[in-house]
């Protein structure tokens, strides 16, 4: 039976490996003669690690003199051994020391000859440019502006495609749209219900303690009803959607971009926005009010549990909730949630389509989708707050 290599076994094997046999001796000749260094043994990573700094110090110490390095006793030399010899040559060159390497076996000599120190001195021009601070700031500002411009362009493309699809319902891939509706809606219900219930429970509990001092626990119902329906329900659900669906869309479309599937669509004459983005965003917008309603409902149940434990009957609590909120509060919240879902899923798709490069681009686009999604939610929530206030909603 084959033995599985566990980290413990590996450690044991490493410890049991024979110690590298390499030795460095110095022999000084008559005055004026070069300093003679003799290296024997195996010049591999373990061996060179033992002597590298020591031999560097010796060669650097002979400033302007001569060093004769005898390597005829070296029985094995790999990349690290060659690197050490090259390093010594570089060091000797810099301190005007005459270094001669004697007795290097032919095969190792060929390895050494493959590398030219001047190669390292003139690195290939890098495409990455190092800029000074003002230029960096300018470039960053231009990137942000470019990003905003892309976003505006994308929203335009999305709505153009959406109207195209609304005018020709057959152009929408309904099978995909239903799949995404299930994925963003039904499949997310467990986490929505859990978070909703816990948020209701915790908010009710935390607010019940100070309100109890004034004998006003019953107003926990008002607090919960208003805050969940108008604000927290849409906000928290949208944040969950950003983490769950926005990132998934970004990763999915990012992978398609990296695998050239998006290019394949374009060269088939198919519009990626209509084909990939519209079904995703449309289904998310369709299911969002439903999952927000679930969130609100279970948040109120969570609050109800606290109220019942404080001795209030369920009927009293529920009547208080119903009396404290209006239909406008709920519809306003649901409208906000539809806009939020458009934002988080739209930005998820956009980040996916913008992915360039290798597999790390997919991860970056997913991260960027969540971050941009949450920023957009916060910004638009602020706009809605002002708007609703101005409209007296």
């Amino acid at each position: 039976m084959q033995k599985q290599v566990t980290p413990r076994l590996m450690k044991k094997a490493v410890l049991a490996a024979p110690a590298a046999h390499v030795s460095l001796t110095t022999a000084s000749g008559p005055p004026g003669a070069p300093l003679r260094l003799v290296l024997t043994g195996r010049l591999d990573a373990d061996g060179t690690a033992q002597i590298w700094e020591k031999i560097e110090k010796i060669v650097a110490g002979v400033r302007g003199g001569a060093v004769a390095l005898d390597v005829s006793g070296v029985e094995y030399c790999d990349g690290s051994g060659i690197a050490m010899l090259l390093d010594l040559q570089r060091l000797a060159g810099a301190s005007q020391t005459a270094l001669s390497i004697n007795g290097l076996r032919e095969e190792f000599g060929q390895l050494l000859a493959m590398f030219d120190l001047s190669d390292a001195a003139t690195p290939a021009p890098s495409r990455r440019r190092h800029l000074d601070l003002p230029s960096e700031i300018g470039h960053a500002a231009s990137r942000v502006w470019g990003d905003v411009w892309n976003l505006i362009e994308f929203v335009g493309e999305f709505w153009a495609s959406l109207f195209y699809v609304l005018a020709r319902p057959k152009a929408l891939r309904w099978k995909d749209a239903l799949h995404f509706a299930e994925n963003t809606g039904a499949d997310s219900l467990p986490i929505i219900i859990l978070i909703g219930f816990l948020m209701g429970l915790i908010t009710a509990f935390q607010s019940a303690i100070p309100l109890k001092q004034f004998g006003a626990e019953i107003f926990v119902a008002n607090l919960l009803g208003l805050s969940m329906l108008r604000e927290l329900g849409p906000l928290v659900t949208a944040i969950i959607m950003a983490g769950r669906s926005g990132s998934a869309f970004a990763a999915e479309l990012g992978t398609m971009q990296v695998n050239e599937e998006i290019n394949a669509l374009v060269t088939m004459g198919l519009d990626p926005v209509r084909f990939l983005v519209v079904p995703r965003v449309l289904s998310a917008m369709a299911v969002m009010p439903l999952i927000v309603m679930f969130f609100n409902f279970f948040a109120l149940i969570g609050g109800g549990v606290v109220m019942v434990s404080l001795g209030y009957p369920v009927v009293t609590y529920s009547k208080q909730v119903v009396a404290s909120v209006t239909l406008t509060d709920m519809v306003g919240g649901l409208f906000k949630s539809v806009v939020f879902s458009h934002l988080v899923c739209g930005i998820g798709c956009l980040r996916g389509l913008q992915a360039r490069g290798g597999p790390s681009a997919v991860g970056d686009s997913a991260t960027s989708a969540v971050v941009s999604g949450i920023i957009l939610i916060a910004v638009f929530d602020g706009i809605f707050a002002v708007l609703f206030y101005a409209l007296k909603i």
């Binding site: 599937e261 060269t267 088939m268």
Partner: protein, 261 residues
Amino acid sequence: MNPAHDKPIIEVTGLTAGYGEDIILRDISFQVYPGEVFCILGGSGCGKSTLMKQMIGLYHPSSGKISLDGEDIVTAEGRMRKNILRKIGVTYQSGALFGSMTLKENIKLPLEEFTKLPHDAMDLIASMKLKLVGLTGFGDHLPAELSGGMQKRAAIARAMALDPRILFLDEPLAGLDPITSAGLDALILSLAKNLGITFVVVTHELPSIYAIADRVIMLDKGHIAAQGAPGELREKSDNVWVRAFFNRLSPQEQHQQSGTP
């Protein structure tokens, strides 16, 4: 195919292109004639794939003209662009099949979008295309369930869904074993011969070039270093680098032959 008499199906004139400030291709001009298997060759990073992406309209060149079957893809927009794209099929290095769809669904996708054929007819066409590439019976498989070579063949089947006049293949043999590669080469030759499809193949696989290419262009540092039949270039090119490419010479051997240290 007779270049002297036929009208070219692809005509690239004075193409200069790149990414941002980096110019990758400079003043490229060549023609491809109907029914030809035309290969674009060159070392890694010389701009082969960029040239192909320009030719299929994925990127816009800084200057120059690319005419596919008499129509300029650079300036075409909207419906006209779609009409040009219907005449071409493209397969990418990775195959680029849609992972969530079966092979049949992949092939039916362009048919669903561009034709009003009944579903039975589309099914039949998809089966025919799969048979053409030797994948009968795999219609209900997902791409991930197939080997690399089968995925490449399926990608060719999808690219042929709308019976294009020109097929562009980007590194079709990358990562395939010699037997599968030879099978793909035979497929390309048979499609070119029997269906009259013009092939533009980006590759640097020498055995495949000798097997399939009627004519090649070789790119070096953004320019066309040589063009002609591969056999001729191997023997007669004045360019040392071109001869080295065709004879698989290492840089050291190249220096030895050219007499430079």
